[in-house]
Symmetry: C2
Subunit: 179 residues, 2 copies
């Protein structure tokens, strides 16, 4: 499936409501549990999504449009929002993510991108040359990889509780496959 | 994390809205695509969830309460609702799933389960003895394994579109881990 900007935006628009439907008001036994040391809880995933929304996607799109490959993207600390989020509620984070997403989609829309813009290239600090089209596709796929992560983190909390059924539940055997 | 009936019900209550927020009105390039021959699209996952809701969870809970281990659960055809769903819209399926979930949670509530009930055992056709607690935990984890699947099936449609970023997106390397 080719990247189509409208379809990417359609998906990006939905994610705050998906996370809201799944997580708001859920017991902390689901939302604050992780998969072990060095892994993230659903709460931390939402903190990360806010940070990416404020400091990553639109900033990198602008870097591509304004500087092309001459200026590498600023590095992005995946856990950069964890410390500031520690004493907030999940509900506050969900609200902030929804607001940040609305704003970043407005900024994207204001760029009035045309097909040739999507082929413009930027420089990723470790991946090298990437196109704006790849960046925007990754924004959507990044939402999906974190939904995939959240559903897994929640499921593994029930690994013992499901007893012998765990062998039929693929999610119980997912290791996250992080690169 | 121990199985706690209230928490399981809290999760089960949310799933229709999660799927609705993610899938309703999304282009068919996301909802009708699968991961290759023999795999399911998000549309087919919803058809499967309806079927499980109508014929699996509550029926098996009743079998445990009424017959214990003396009567094995009826076998369940995971693709049993695919043929009937073929000519329906995803929106109809989402509505039917939401309705079926409301009804099955009403039936669960009417069972007025007490802690000793949760330890009662039934007989799974291939897994052998299982408890009602394990069945109910599996109901919730089954929702999560299918959210995990849907987010993966959608993400892999963008495997080419994200270019070199795929190496940072764990979901692109998930194989589903089916037992």
């Amino acid at each position: 499936m080719k990247h189509v900007l409208d379809e990417t935006v359609t998906l990006l628009t939905r994610t705050p409501e998906v996370l809201n439907a799944l997580l708001r008001g859920l017991p902390e036994s689901w939302t604050m549990s992780n998969e072990g040391e060095g892994t993230w809880s659903p709460f931390e995933v939402v903190a990360h999504l806010i940070h990416a929304e404020r400091d990553n996607w639109i900033a990198r799109a602008r870097t591509i449009l304004d500087h092309g490959e001459s200026r590498p993207f600023a590095p992005f600390d995946r856990e950069g929002n964890f410390e500031q989020s520690r004493f907030r509620s999940l509900e506050e984070l969900l609200d902030e993510f929804a607001q940040a997403r609305v704003e970043s989609l407005q900024q994207l829309s204001a760029m009035s991108l045309l097909p040739p813009d999507l082929e413009k290239k930027g420089k990723h600090p470790s991946l090298g040359a990437v196109t704006l089209s790849e960046l925007l596709s990754t924004w959507a796929a990044h939402d999906l990889t974190h939904m995939h992560q959240i559903s897994r983190v929640m499921a593994v909390q029930y690994r013992q509780a499901v007893g012998p059924w765990s062998k039929f539940l693929g999610v119980m055997y997912c290791t996250g496959h992080s690169g």
